[in-house]
């Protein structure tokens, strides 16, 4: 699993039972459109997320209905598992880079 996919899953896992739409996920995962849509499509094909159409009256709201993505039950479990695995692999070696100004000679 790529780190970009992990970033998308992390966003979805923040509110596992909530609906998210593409642009929102993109903003929160800090990934561009070209990365987000294929990842969501792939996750959907694999059964990790489902998508549905937002129920609203476009006339009343003044905007078109969004396509909403949500983790499935098994998707959420597997996403958590994948996240934990990655953390356990990277964490032991992980040394955060010093921020500017904090660096000591």
């Amino acid at each position: 699993m790529t780190l970009q996919t992990q970033a998308v899953l992390a966003v979805l896992l923040d509110h596992p039972s909530a609906d998210h739409y593409g642009l929102e996920i993109s903003k929160r995962a800090k990934l561009p459109s070209g990365t987000i849509y294929p990842i969501l499509a792939r996750l959907q094909k694999a059964g990790w997320v489902t998508s549905s159409w937002e129920e609203l009256d476009p006339q009343a709201e003044g905007r078109p209905a969004r396509r909403l993505y949500r983790l499935t039950q098994s998707g959420a479990e597997r996403a958590r598992q994948a996240q934990a695995e990655t953390v356990s692999r990277i964490a032991p070696r992980w040394v955060p880079a010093p921020r500017l100004g904090e660096a000591k000679p």
């Binding site: 699993m1 739409y21 070209g34 990365t35 792939r42 905007r63 078109p64 969004r66 692999r89 990277i90």
Partner: protein, 189 residues
């Protein structure tokens, strides 16, 4: 005279500039829609309608962001073929096996072809400066796993011993071409 200039300047800033900017925004916005429609044509027909609806809704959020909308649409277009492949289904087992076989074969062939070049490079590194030919670095790879990455050494083993000479050479080079960004280097020497 000054009066006229003031009036013209004010008119430019408050009337003409907003109009031009508004025009540019609208133009970006319309172009973004065109790009999105083009992206949708890359997709298989059974998903095209839904994707177009989704993209329209997402793009609508960026309606007064001008260039952002265009960038968003362009990103979608660039990766539309990728999306099309995914929509057609995840790769089959046979495909995965064939791809792996292809990767291994092409990589082996390429390695055999460039091996003489690698040998020559190794020889040159060994002969021109003291130290090992290869250097190892830890990199993060697939699935966040770290792996050892082998590289030909391009730097000296003992750079600190040469820093003084290097700074002099650099500062002479920079000052002789009157570069303005050399302040720090010149001070350092």
């Amino acid at each position: 005279m000054r009066m006229i200039a003031t009036v013209l300047g004010t008119a430019f800033v408050f009337v003409i500039l907003p109009l031009v900017l508004q025009d540019a925004y609208n133009w970006c916005w319309h172009l973004a829609h065109k790009v999105m429609r083009r992206a949708a044509t890359c997709l298989p027909e059974h998903v095209r309608g839904d994707r177009e609806r989704e993209w329209n809704a997402d793009l609508y959020q960026l309606r007064d962001r001008g260039l952002s909308a265009l960038i968003w649409a362009t990103g979608t277009l660039i990766h539309a073929p990728n999306l099309a492949r995914i929509e057609q289904g995840l790769p089959s087992f046979q495909y995965s096996v064939a791809k792996r076989a292809f990767d291994v074969m092409v990589a082996s062939l390429a390695l055999a072809l460039v091996a003489p070049v690698f040998g020559a490079i190794a020889l040159i590194i060994r002969l021109t400066s003291p130290g090992p030919v290869l250097m190892r670095q830890v990199r993060i790879g697939r699935d966040g796993r770290s792996f050892r990455c082998l590289k030909f050494r391009t730097m000296r083993v003992d750079p600190s011993l040469h820093i003084d000479t290097l700074l002099v050479v650099l500062s002479v080079g920079f000052t002789s071409t009157s570069c303005h960004s050399c302040g720090m280097l010149c001070v350092a020497t």
